[in-house]
Structure formats: C-alpha cells, structure tokens
Amino acid sequence: MTVDDRLLHIFRDVLDDPNLVLTSATTAADIEEWDSLAHVTLMFLIEQEFGIQFAGEEFARLEDVGALQTLVEAKAGLQH
C-alpha cells in the first residue's frame, strides 16, 4: 500500500520535516517527533482534511501508518 499523499503532507507539516518518508509499517516509535502532543494535532488535521471524526479508541495510537490509512479510507468512504 502506498501512503496517501494528503496523509503524508499532514505528517510532514506536523512533524516539521518536509522530506519525511512514511511507509505503511511506520509507527510512532520510529519517529522521535511523533509524541503524544503531535499525535493530537495529527488526528485533528486528518479529521479536517478527510471530513471524518475519530471515535473512542480510534483516536488512540494506531499500530502503524497502514492501519491509520485503512481506517481513514473506511471512514471517508474512499475506495482503493
């Protein structure tokens, strides 16, 4: 799975790294700047960008970027 461009740009903005590379296996543990504070901002901007709302435990840290993208696509009703 390639990482969605819009998702990638949000990560680049929030983690303040214009050259950031994400794969579907990337986790918060791989990126120092991806702390709990950054996570909240990431989730907010993803909600805005895709017009979705995370509920309950979806908001907590997901396994990896791939799992996040799958969730976002499902909530936004996007097809691969």
Binding site: V14, D16, T41, F44, L45, Q53, F59
Partner: protein, 642 residues
C-alpha cells in the same frame, strides 16, 4: 558544517524561485505559498528570511494547519529571531487547560509584530499552584506579561444557585485574589482570558431569565471581573472571539476529553492573534493613525469625474454601506485613533464632499491631516507621519485599490495595509477585524487626540510659513501647567510610561504599582505637565520622576508625548524639576540617557539643557547638572505651577 555541492545549491535556489513565484500569484500570499518559501529558505540556511515568511502566514488568514506548521518552523529557528526582533518580552502562560499549541501560535503571532517572547509555560492545569507558590517557576521567570489562560469549566459554579449574588461574588473574589497575588509578586501585566458561556444550558432559553443559571452567572462573573480589573490586568474578551467564530467551532469537547484542549484548535489562531495585539498594546506598539483613501473607500464613484451629485454616499445602491463605513471610522476616531486622508485627487476637489456633501459622516474636523495630490502614496504617508510626529510603525493604510496597496506595502514595510473586499458592505467587518488598534487603556485624552494632532498639523503648516523656529514657537502661545502626580491623572501617567518610545530618556516601563512606590519614597519629585496652545488643549503630555540619591536627584524617568516633540516644552518641565530639587536642598541633578532603536531623538537632550557628561558606555550616558548654576528657563512656554 559541510559545504553543499554547487549543483545542490542551484537546485535549492530554483526551488526558492518557484516558491516565490507562487507567493506572487495573489495579492496576499496564500498560507501554503508562505510555507513553501519559508521551507526553501530553511534549506538554504537563510533563517531570517525563513522567519519572515513564517510570520507572513499570520497575515494570510486564520487557518490552523498553516499556523501550526509555521509555528513549528519558527520554534526551531527561534534563537535566530532574537537579534532581529523589534522588541522582546518575558512572558508566562499559565492555564487551566493544555496550552502547548496556544504557546506555539502565540510565538508566531508575536513574531509577525516583531516581538520576541521569552516564554515560561506551566504544566496543564497548574495555574493556581503557580500563582500561590512564591517559589514557583512563574515567579522565577520574572515575567513582564502573564497570560492567564483559563476556561469556563474551571469556574466553581453550580448549574443552578438559589443565591446567585453570593455564588458569583465568591467566584469573583477568588479570581481577584489570584490576580492580586500575581501583581504583588511581579511587575507583570496579566492578560486574563474571559470565560465563554457554554452553548448549552439545562434550562435552555429560560436560563436568561434566571440569575441563578450557570449561563447567567458566567456572564455576571465576566462582567464583574471587567469592572473590577485593576490597571495591571487586561482582559481578552473570549466571549466575543467565540461569537465571531461560532461556538460550535470554539468548543470541541472531543478534544477536551482526550487531551484537555478547552479551546478548539480551530479557534487558537484568532485567540493567539488577539493576545499578541494585547501584548503589543502593553509594549506601547498600538497603531495610532488610520490613513484613508477616498474614491471607492469612503464613497462610491470618483469625485473628480462623477462630481458631488455623482458620488454614492448615504444612498445609491452601495451608498449606505459607505455611510456605515464612515460611521465606524468615526467611532474609531472617537476612541483615539487619529485619522488622515491620502488621496490621488486635486486638493480642492477632494475636500469638497467633506465641506458640503449632506450625507458625509466624516467632516474635515475629524481628519488630522489631509494629503490630496498626485504624488505617490508612500511619499504622502511619510509626510502624514512626519506632520503628526508619528513613526511609520504607528500607521495603518486602507485603500480599495490593490495597486495602491501593493505600492505602499513595497515601499513602507512598517505600515500595516488593510485589504478591503470588493463589496463595501463588508468594509466595516474587515476594518473591525484588524486587531492592532488595541490599546491598553482609555482616558479622556484619547477622546481628544485628533483635536490635538490636528492642531499639531496646523502648527506644522504654520512652521512652514513662520520666518524662524523661534517666531513659530513664540506664535504658539504655549501655556504649561506643572504639578505633582495625583490620583486623578495616574491612569494617563502610567499609560504614557507604557507607550512612549521616541521622547523617552530611559524607557523604563513602570506599571502603576512601581509609580506609586516612587511617589511614596521620601524626597522623590514627580511632576506631570499639561499643555495648551492657541490651537488646542493637548492634555497631559510630559512626565518627570526623580529619586533621592543623597545630595543628587536622579532622574529616573523623563518623557514627552510625541504630540509635542520639537516645542521645547521639556525645558519647562526640567526647569521646574530643578527649581524644586534646589528648594529641597539637592546639590545636583543626574540624568541618564539609555539608547533604544527609537529614542535617538533625545540622545543630545541633556547636553542641550546644559548638563555635563559624567560617563559614557554603550548602554547609557550619564549627565549631571549643578543646581547652583543658572536656572533652566523656557523662552517659549509660560508655566503655571501649583
């Protein structure tokens, strides 16, 4: 540091060029374009330009995502900002909710004003501990400004109180007590964020009839705190911010429950921007003058072509909108903003609507200086600033023509330019949203300011005509009243100390408590000066404070309002100080000049008054005046003392 290969630098340059090109596509560069340019400069290691473009995001709108991204870049480059900032201040942010994001945005909004903030941030919900513990980080930081970021949920109010007066009183006293702790232990000004009524109330609409409903009590707490706030406490009207934005956007409970954000991310840019405006007001950076274009801005049509009965004001399809805009401009003037006109027109033609159009709201008396000619606008704005004795950094320019705005932006970086929308019905809203006329206090002097500036401009014109400066000064027939400080004038005195930049020898920003303390010291001398001339009553325009250093009276503060610069009024004030010092048995006066980037005007003041140079360092020059010498006398100002 490794040196980049030439082709690598070339490609970074090319990235920068295309980013700059994207930024030029619109009159105000889009936030994304600003970020693109900022990042390109980061790649080229040009931190100062990168910072400038991060700050530009603030001008491009209130979009959280781009503010957040720009705030992060700025945070990383912040050490590079300190040396190029216009001002700096020590700030503490203490709150009842998570303030990390607010702090990042505040840094950005202040940078757009040229202000560097040395920030201390308490942990989430720590505000009471920080305030009550004298050993806390808050006090160790010795802040000049404290943002008390508190929210409605932190009010100790029930959903309903059978005795609302008492309940409200108790809560008001709690906040007053916290304020007093801060102001007792610091010299800081507190910026208290007022409480926003929740969108819901269990009583529904009935709550507005019940003084004991939580909504009613929150409103009462806000209102009473506003009434009771001392000089050292400024209040950010969050209820208004939330109303403008929509409470549905201000509150996002999901983020409160997850991470204790009491103000939604979406609302933070507007909040940060307005806090930065209040910080600016406290630092004396309030914009003072609104420069108005005429055709298309104050009325519809072109006076030079359409004539008096052709321009649209008061009626016509958009005439009412122009009238409403003039009325708003007039109310800004009434609260202390000085108005000037800058128009490409023949002067007589441009003046005509002001003189005799029945539907004009503004009259010539409301305009401090009127520049209608065919010279470029930047040149005219410079002349307006000069004639009013204001810096370009006090000016705001409003024009309906993009080309005129662009010329002014390019030539005069310091001038704020307001972009009017095409529809004049939205002019009021656009001007009202401009935040930097925010000022720290309001006194009767503010109400009379235009009168005084107008007189200054007439005086300026008279000076052009007078044969010599001496003749001019004599012709003004200036009369000064000089008196020791009194309670009645204290607000104005503290206001002047807070904002005077140019004619200010030491630029010590004493707050009210510090002024009180100096007043109470034995053998101190403190005088204010009020000035009238044949054109106007200028009100209280000068202050001097001297403190006892043995046989020497040390001049702690000497300043004059920029309205009366160049009139030798200071000679009368220092002369009176010297006379009083002699009567109290002092042997000499000591004056200190501490240079800033704004007060070069008075570098030679003490020398011109006959003081002798005692010592000189980069930080200050020290001057002394033996009181057995001849008294200091003003030739041009008649002094009435009591």
């Amino acid at each position: 540091m490794t040196v980049a290969a030439p082709q690598e630098t070339d490609s970074k340059r090319a990235t920068l060029e295309s980013a700059l090109e994207a930024a030029r596509l619109t009159e105000i560069p889009s936030p994304l374009a600003c970020l693109g340019v900022a990042r390109a400069y980061v790649e080229l290691d040009e931190a100062k330009e990168a910072i400038k473009w991060c700050a530009q995001v603030v001008k491009s709108g209130l979009d959280y995502r781009s503010w957040d991204a720009a705030g992060r870049i700025l945070k990383r480059l912040y050490p590079e900002f300190a040396p190029i900032a216009r001002r700096s201040a020590r700030l503490a942010v203490i709150g009842s909710y998570t303030t990390d994001q607010l702090v990042d945005l505040l840094r950005l909004a202040a940078a757009e004003r040229g202000v560097h903030l040395d920030i201390y941030e308490s942990g989430y919900g720590q505000y009471q501990q920080e305030i009550l513990n004298k050993e806390s980080g808050l006090y160790a930081h010795d802040p000049e400004l404290v943002v008390l970021a508190v929210h409605e949920g932190d009010l100790e109010l029930p959903d309903y109180s059978p005795s609302p007066d008492e309940t409200v009183k108790q809560e008001v006293v709690r906040w007053e007590g916290l304020w007093a702790r801060i102001t007792d232990n610091t010299n800081a000004t507190v910026i208290h964020t007022s409480f926003v009524k929740r969108p819901e109330d269990p009583f529904g609409h009935l709550s507005s009839k019940l003084a004991g409903s939580r909504s009613s009590m929150v409103a009462a707490v806000n209102s009473q705190l506003g009434d009771l706030a001392p000089k050292e406490v400024a209040i950010l009207d969050c209820e208004r911010l939330a109303a403008n934005l929509g409470k549905g956007r201000w509150f996002d409970d999901r983020y409160w429950h997850r991470s204790k954000q009491a103000v939604a991310f979406d609302a933070l840019p507007t909040m940060a921007r307005d806090i930065s405006a209040m910080i600016g007001a406290q630092l004396g950076m309030t914009r003072k003058c609104l420069v108005l274009d005429l055709d298309g801005t104050l009325w519809g049509g072109i006076i030079g072509e359409d004539g008096m009965d052709g321009i649209r004001i008061g009626h016509g399809f958009d005439g009412e909108a122009f009238a409403a805009f003039q009325e708003y401009v007039l109310s800004l003037k009434d609260r202390g903003v000085v108005l000037a006109v800058c128009s490409k027109n023949d002067e007589a033609t441009a003046r005509k609507p002001f003189e005799s159009h029945p539907d004009m709201r503004l009259s010539l008396n409301d305009i401090a200086t009127f520049q209608a000619n065919w010279r470029p606008k930047p040149e005219n704005i410079r002349r307006i600033a000069e004639s009013l004795g204001l810096g370009l950094d006090a000016m705001v320019f409003v024009d309906d023509q993009p080309a005129e705005r662009e010329v002014v932006r390019q030539a005069l970086e310091m001038v704020d330019v307001i972009v009017l929308p095409e529809d004049p019905s939205r002019y009021v809203e656009t001007l009202a949203r401009y935040p930097h006329f925010e000022s720290a206090s309001y006194t009767d002097e503010d109400n009379r300011r235009t009168e005084s500036y107008r007189a200054r401009n007439q005086a300026f014109e008279a000076r052009d005509k007078a044969d010599s400066l001496d003749d001019f000064l004599r012709s003004l027939d200036m009369r000064a009243t000089i008196q020791p400080f009194d309670d009645f004038h204290l607000a104005r005195i503290v206001q002047l100390i807070g904002k005077t930049n140019q004619f200010n020898l030491t630029t010590r920003r004493h707050n009210q408590a510090a002024v009180q303390e100096i007043i109470e010291r034995p053998e101190s001398i403190h005088l204010y000066l009020k000035l009238r001339d044949r054109f106007a009553d200028h009100g209280l325009v000068g202050i001097v404070m001297g403190t006892n250093e043995g046989q020497v009276l040390e001049i702690d503060t000497l300043l004059m309002s920029c309205r009366v610069i160049g009139r030798t009024v200071e000679v009368a004030l220092v002369g009176e100080l010297a006379a009083r010092a002699r009567d109290l048995g002092y042997k000499s006066l000591r004056g200190v000049y501490r240079p800033t980037d704004r007060n070069g005007l008075v570098a030679g003041l003490y020398e011109s008054l006959g003081f002798q140079l005692e010592s000189e360092t980069a930080e200050e020059t020290v001057w002394s005046y033996e009181l057995d010498k001849n008294p200091i006398d003003s030739q041009f100002v008649t002094t009435e003392v009591s």
